[in-house]
C-alpha cells in the first residue's frame, strides 16, 4: 500500500466503540449473576481490551476478550442458566472480532478515511451470527432439557465441530 505523508494508522473509531460496547454487554451479563470469581475475571479483562482497541494492540484485545470469556466460563462452572452464558460468550466473541476489525481497518485505511459503512456491515453480520448461535443453542437446550444425558450433547457439539472442519475449501 502506498503511503502519502503521515497517516494516522490508529484503530478505526466505529469498530472500536462497538467492540467496547459488546464487551460491556458481556461483562454486565456475567456481573448480573453475581458469581464473584467470574465477575472478577471478566472485569479484569476490560482494561486490556480498552488498551488494545484504543492503542491498536491485537494482543491486548485477545487477552481482554479471553479474560472476559474466562469470567463467563467460571460463572457457568459455579452455576448459571444458559441464557446469560450464551449471550456472554457471543458478546465476547463479537467484542474480539470488532476489536481486531478496528485495528486492521486502521492499518489499511487510517483514521481519517471514511470507513463507517463497511465497519457497520461487518459488525451487523457478526452480530447476526451471534444471535443465530444463541437461538440454536437455546433451541438445543429446550429440546435436551427433557432429560437427555450430557454425553449426547457433547457428541452433538463434537459432531458440529467436525462438520465445520470438513467444510474447508
Amino acid at each position: 500500500m502506498s503511503d502519502a505523508g503521515a497517516v494516522d494508522h490508529g484503530p478505526a473509531r466505529t469498530s472500536a466503540v462497538l467492540s467496547i460496547g459488546a464487551l460491556g454487554t458481556a461483562v454486565a451479563t456475567v456481573g448480573l449473576f453475581g458469581v464473584p470469581l467470574g465477575t472478577l475475571a471478566a472485569v479484569a479483562g476490560v482494561p486490556f481490551l480498552l488498551y488494545g482497541v484504543l492503542r491498536g494492540s491485537r494482543r491486548g484485545v485477545s487477552i481482554g476478550a479471553f479474560a472476559v470469556f474466562g469470567g463467563v466460563v467460571l460463572t457457568g462452572i459455579v452455576g448459571a442458566p444458559p441464557e446469560p452464558l450464551l449471550v456472554g460468550t457471543a458478546a465476547t466473541v463479537i467484542a474480539w472480532d470488532l476489536g481486531e476489525q478496528a485495528i486492521n481497518v486502521g492499518e489499511q485505511l487510517g483514521r481519517e478515511a471514511r470507513t463507517v459503512r463497511g465497519e457497520l456491515v461487518h459488525a451487523a453480520s457478526g452480530t447476526v451470527v451471534g444471535v443465530l448461535a444463541i437461538a440454536a443453542g437455546y433451541g438445543v437446550f429446550a429440546l435436551a432439557s427433557g432429560g437427555q444425558p450430557l454425553a449426547a450433547l457433547v457428541v452433538l457439539l463434537v459432531a458440529a465441530i467436525a462438520l465445520v472442519e470438513a467444510v474447508r475449501d
Binding site: M1, S2, A4, G5, V7, A12, S62, F69, V72, V73, G76, I77, G79, A80, P81, P82, L85, L86, G88, T89, V93, D97, E100, Q101, N104, V105, Q108, L109, G110, E112, A113, R114, T115, R117, G118, E119, V121, H122, S125, G126, V129, G130, A133, I134, A136, G137, V140, F141, A144, L150, L153, V154, L157, A160, I161, L163, V164, V167, R168, D169
Partner: protein
C-alpha cells in the same frame, strides 16, 4: 491479484472446546451449550470465500492543470459490476511528489451489486507532471477471514506549470555579452546613450558624434563615445544532483527552479537571451532565445523536464557526462548563472570548469543548511567556506537565505560588488 487468508479468526474454535470441556468436567449442560456459539463463529469464519471483484473505477480531477500551491479535488467513483462486496477498501495511488491536504485517499465501505460509491480528497498542487498510481482494491468476505487484493489502473495525470510572471528584478550579470545591442552596460565606448569618453576624431566617424562645441571652442575635431549597451546571452544551469534534494519540506531544487523561473522572467523582460540547462538524471538543455514562444518553452522545461523532477533521482547521475554536454552546447559568448545549494565541493569545481571554458559564471545559491545539530552546523560552515572561496576567486555569489526574498538577496549581492 492475490487472495490470502487473514487468520483473524484463528483460535475461535477454542471457545467451543473450552466451554464444552469445562461444561463436561463440571457437569453443567448450560455451559456446554455456550460452546455452540464458538462452533457458530468457526463456521462463519469458514463459510466465506474471497469475493469476486469486478469494479469499474473512474478518477475525476477538479482541474488537471492547477496553479502551483493550488488545490485539486480528486473524486474516485467505483461501480460494482460483480456480486455484493461486504467489506471493500480502496486506496488511491496518490502521485509520489504530491501531498494530501484534505480528506483521505483511502475509503472503506460495503457495496451492493450494481451500486456506485464515490469519495473525494484534496491534493496540494506542486510543480511538475504527476501520474497517478493504480488504485489498490482490497475486498474481504463478511467475516473478514479471506481477502483479495488487486490493483486497478486508472491512467490520470495532472500537470502544474508555474507561470513566468512579469518581473523587474535586477539580476546582477557579468560583463560577457553578445554582439547585439541590449541592456548590459559595457566598458567599451561606441554608440549608446550614456556618455563614456571623448577621443580624437578618426576619419569615418559619424557626423552626429562629433563634439561640435569643442570644435568651436578649441578648433580640434573630437568624437564623443557613448557606453555601448549590449545584449547578454545567459544560460541558467540548475544543479539537480542528489544533494540538491536536501532540505526539509522545501528542498534546494524546488528553490533553485523557482529562482531560475524568476531570473529567466526578469532577464527576458529586460531583453536578454535566456537558455536553460540542468545537471540531473537526463540531458536537459534549452538553447538561449527570446520571445513569447521561448518563454513558454522555458516555463514547460522548468516545470516538467524529468531532469528537474521534484522527487530525488532513483539512479546515479553521471555528472561528468552532464557537464561535458552542457559545455559543448553552451554558445561561446554565453554567461552562466549556476543555481546550486553548494552542498559539496564538486559544485565549486564546476564553477571553475565553466569559467575555464570561457563562460563568466554567477552563482545563485539557495541556503538550505540549518544550525540545530552539530552535524548540520558543520555542513552550514562548509557551505559558508565554499561561498567565500568562490567570492575570493571573483565569482559573484548570490547567497539566498531561507525566508529571504530573492530580490533582496540580489540587491545585497549588487552592493557587495
Amino acid at each position: 491479484m492475490t487472495t490470502r487468508a487473514t487468520h483473524r479468526w484463528y483460535g475461535v474454535a477454542a471457545v467451543a472446546l473450552i466451554a464444552a470441556g469445562a461444561g463436561v468436567a463440571a457437569s453443567r449442560p448450560a455451559l456446554l451449550l455456550a460452546g455452540v456459539v464458538g462452533v457458530a463463529y468457526a463456521a462463519y469464519a469458514r463459510s466465506g470465500a474471497a469475493p469476486a471483484v469486478d469494479l469499474e473505477i473512474e478518477r475525476e480531477l477538479s482541474t488537471d492543470e492547477p496553479d502551483p500551491g493550488g488545490t485539486v479535488v480528486v473524486t474516485l467513483r467505483a461501480r460494482n459490476a460483480g456480486p455484493f462486496l461486504p467489506d471493500l477498501r480502496l486506496v488511491d495511488g496518490v502521485p509520489g511528489a504530491l501531498s494530501v491536504t484534505g480528506g483521505s485517499p483511502r475509503f472503506g465501505t460495503a457495496l451492493r451489486s450494481g451500486k456506485v460509491v464515490a469519495f473525494d480528497y484534496e491534493l496540494g498542487a506542486e510543480r511538475g507532471r504527476h501520474d497517478f498510481d493504480p488504485v489498490t482494491v482490497v475486498a474481504r468476505d463478511a467475516s473478514g477471514a479471506t481477502e483479495r487484493e488487486m490493483e486497478i489502473d486508472v491512467p490520470t495525470s495532472l500537470t502544474c506549470v508555474p507561470r513566468l510572471v512579469e518581473s523587474s528584478m535586477r539580476v546582477p550579470l557579468r560583463a560577457q555579452t553578445a554582439q547585439y545591442t541590449g541592456p548590459v552596460a559595457t566598458d567599451t565606448g561606441g554608440s549608446g546613450v550614456e556618455f563614456f569618453a571623448t577621443r580624437e576624431y578618426r576619419p569615418g566617424d559619424a557626423m552626429t558624434r562629433i563634439d561640435w562645441n569643442r570644435l568651436a571652442r578649441t578648433g580640434q575635431l573630437s568624437t564623443v563615445e557613448y557606453r555601448e549597451e549590449r545584449m547578454a546571452t545567459v544560460v541558467l544551469a540548475v544543479d539537480a544532483r542528489a544533494p540538491s534534494y536536501e532540505g526539509a519540506d522545501d528542498h534546494a531544487l524546488e528553490r533553485s527552479v523557482d529562482a531560475a523561473g524568476r531570473i529567466a522572467a526578469s532577464l527576458l523582460d529586460a531583453g536578454h537571451l535566456v537558455g536553460i540547462g540542468a545537471l540531473g538524471t537526463e540531458p536537459c538543455f534549452l538553447a538561449p532565445g527570446t520571445g513569447e514562444e521561448h518563454r513558454t518553452r522555458i516555463e514547460r522545461t522548468l516545470a516538467m523536464h524529468p531532469a528537474l523532477a521534484p522527487t530525488p533521482p532513483t539512479r546515479t547521475v553521471i555528472v561528468a557526462q552532464r557537464v561535458r554536454e552542457l559545455r559543448r552546447r553552451l554558445p561561446a559568448n554565453a554567461q552562466v548563472v549556476l543555481l546550486t545549494p553548494l552542498l559539496d565541493d564538486y559544485a565549486v569545481a564546476l564553477v571553475g570548469r565553466l569559467q575555464a571554458s570561457g563562460h563568466a559564471t554567477t552563482v545563485v545559491s539557495p541556503d538550505v543548511t540549518a544550525e540545530d545539530t552539530p552535524g548540520r552546523r558543520l555542513a552550514h560552515l562548509e557551505r559558508r567556506l565554499r561561498v567565500n572561496r568562490l567570492r575570493g576567486s571573483h565569482v559573484p555569489v548570490i547567497d539566498w537565505e531561507p525566508d529571504e526574498r530573492l530580490e533582496r538577496a540580489m540587491a545585497v549581492a549588487r552592493v557587495r560588488r
